[in-house]
């Protein structure tokens, strides 16, 4: 169909600005993206100030009050209390910081490691590329959750170990992304010029190529956040990584399993927290991708 309408020439700068405005317009038009943004903002706020304003900070630190075991949700205990008489609300709020930080750390470490591998493979090409990418593909074939569990279990309990273990199963995605971007960029004129001027490989990579591939990396990081949080909770749920009394959402849920169905609130609220956090990041990431990647939008 030829419904094209001539609107006169436009220069590149104003068309980029136009694209940007269109993107922002689309984002604001999409109710779901806004909902995602609100959830994520709320979550960050809770993670920042939550631990200082919770009604029972002593429970977060591991304190117990056995006299108050298994109280159902009420005005005093919004989310009820658990088998140790701890306030579930306080634990869930405190858990937001752990989940967010752990998720962020996973994504950042995976991005750094993946970028390193991908950039080297993409820049040097030939056998280096071949070897690194075969390795990356093999890593993608391994079941990532089992791999993360095995690494975390071998390293011993602790959030740091768990984050490292998950990141070690997470980087291949970043490596593939960065390799493609670097391969496209290294043929561009400004890189050729830098090479002609005698710049070495590390300098070209760090100064000229990587700054130009940073935006797809950031998009992937934002898209991955939700699932990173989910994976952290999964490991907590199977009992690998974080150990009580750390109020991690997954391990809270895992402990609560034993007290179903009578004390359902001990499980429902941590579970809802995981769901909401993941949902919020996914909504946001989806909206961001629509804005930043016009090809994928519908």
């Amino acid at each position: 169909m030829s419904a094209a309408v001539e609107t006169g020439p436009r220069n590149a700068l104003s068309s980029r600005w136009q694209n940007w405005r269109r993107g922002a317009y689309r984002f604001r038009q999409s109710t779901l993206s806004i909902v995602g943004l609100v959830i994520v903002a709320l979550l960050i706020a809770v993670a920042l100030v939550g631990p200082y304003v919770v009604p029972h900070p002593e429970h977060v630190a591991g304190g117990v009050s056995t006299a108050m075991r298994f109280r159902p949700p009420s005005a005093q205990f919004w989310f009820g209390t658990n088998e140790l008489g701890q306030d579930v609300f306080s634990l869930v709020v405190a858990g937001s910081r752990i989940s967010l930080l752990a998720g962020l750390a996973v994504v950042v470490i995976a991005a750094i490691f993946g970028t390193l591998i991908g950039a080297v493979a993409g820049y040097f090409g030939r056998w280096v590329d071949e070897a690194l990418m075969r390795f990356t593909d093999l890593m993608l074939t391994l079941p990532s959750l089992i791999l993360a569990m095995a690494i975390a279990a071998a390293l011993g309990p602790g959030i740091g170990n768990m984050v490292f273990a998950i990141a070690m199963s997470w980087w291949p995605g970043f490596a593939r992304l960065v390799r493609g971007e670097v391969m496209a960029k290294k043929e561009e004129v400004f890189v050729q010029a830098a090479r002609a001027l005698g710049a070495g490989a590390p300098r070209i990579l760090m100064r000229h190529i990587l700054p130009n591939v940073i935006s797809p990396i950031i998009v992937k990081m934002s898209l991955d956040m939700g699932f990173a949080i989910l994976t952290v909770a999964s490991l907590g749920f199977v009992g690998i990584g974080v150990k009580p009394p750390t109020p991690e959402w997954g391990s809270l849920l895992s402990l609560a399993r034993g007290y179903m169905p009578d004390y359902w609130w001990t499980a429902i609220f941590p579970g809802m927290a995981i769901f909401l956090a993941v949902f919020g990041f996914n909504l946001l990431g989806d909206g961001l991708r629509d804005v930043l990647d016009p090809k994928a939008r519908r």
Partner: protein, 337 residues
């Protein structure tokens, strides 16, 4: 009664930048047996006119503001979807520009043709040479036989075997033949062809034009041929309508229009066609740009590019005036320049 009559058709198209008035009062009367060429530049609305006849313009984003499209006196814009469907493929056949993208790549061409034949046969069993009581199996068999016959008619060698091939196994020209066979398998009365030769090699173009010509003559088809190529019109058509920015600016039998063009735009179009006698540097382009259809000027839409434009041109849309029987022009200076 004319087979097809478009009266004062106005169509608006919504987009990010606003609503564009893309068809601005189209009038076209097509009698049985006539072969109309609709010519104009990209974006002038000629394809939308063609699609409107089969009512295939998606609404929204498009919106019909006014007008009617009468097929045998029945207004298609008021018809139900089921009524439209009964016309499509059976009474109105369509061919589009690019044969490489208009065949479904993952189905055998026979599959697609059989479905069209079955659809047409459902509306009128005579298409398949059967009566209403024929079983599904008999219909399918007849539809397949018809598909092979149609492929033979459009000049596909070894049609009985090739009916089971996939589109990618045919060349571009052959695919357009398949599409023509598919458009005609329901024995339509009206054929709408939207740039059927534009995407083809020059050598193949002539073959396809001849094929369309022969089929049209054999079947006594009425045709609306959308094209930007005046040569195609000269070779194939009995009538021509020239479109500019959503208006028909000149229409009539091919001979008087080509011999004595009344609209400056038609003249410019004809001057832009190179002939064997054209000397270097003589080929005329057209200066200026098409006006924005989001805020069209109140007067003649061609005035921004017209060498003869006067103050009178901006006063209001010029009405169609008849220069000779059947040949009319929408220009205030018609007959004077």
């Amino acid at each position: 009664m004319a087979l097809l009559e478009i009266r004062n058709l106005h169509l608006a198209m919504r987009s990010f930048e606003g609503e564009a008035h893309v068809l601005n009062g189209i009038d076209l009367k097509v009698d049985t047996g006539e072969i109309w060429g609709v010519v104009g530049e990209t974006g002038c609305g000629k394809s939308l006119t063609g699609l409107s006849i089969s009512r295939l313009v998606p609404t929204p984003p498009a919106r019909y503001l006014a007008g009617e499209i009468l097929f045998e006196g029945r207004d298609l814009l008021a018809a139900s979807e089921a009524e439209m469907r009964a016309l499509r493929g059976r009474r109105i056949g369509m061919i589009f520009q690019d044969p490489t993208t208009n065949l479904n790549p993952v189905f055998r061409i026979g599959d697609q043709m059989v479905d069209v034949a079955l659809h047409a046969g459902h509306a009128d069993p005579a298409v398949l040479g059967l009566d209403r009581r024929a079983s599904g199996r008999a219909r399918r068999k007849a539809a397949r036989a018809l598909a092979v016959r149609m492929l033979e008619r459009v000049g596909i060698p070894d049609a009985a075997r090739r009916v089971d091939d996939y589109p990618h196994q045919f060349s571009g020209g052959m695919r357009q033949r398949v599409l023509i066979a598919m458009a005609l398998i329901g024995k339509p009365d009206l054929l709408i062809a939207d740039e059927p030769t534009t995407a083809l090699d020059v050598s193949v173009q002539a073959q396809i034009l001849r094929l369309i010509h022969d089929l049209v003559v054999e079947d006594g088809l009425t045709v609306v041929m959308i094209t930007h190529n005046l040569g195609v019109v000269a070779q194939l058509c009995t009538h021509v309508a020239v479109m500019y920015a959503g208006n028909i600016v000149e229409a009539g039998p091919v001979r008087p229009v080509f011999k004595n063009p009344g609209h400056p735009y038609t003249r410019a179009l004809m001057a832009a066609v190179p002939t064997a006698g054209t000397k270097r540097g003589e080929l005329a382009g057209l200066p200026g740009i098409v006006p924005s259809l989001f805020k069209p000027p109140p007067g003649c839409r061609f005035a921004t590019r017209c060498a003869h434009a006067t103050a009178a041109c901006d006063l209001g849309a010029p009405a169609m005036r008849e220069l000779s029987p059947g040949h009319s022009v929408a220009c205030v200076l018609a007959g004077e320049i």
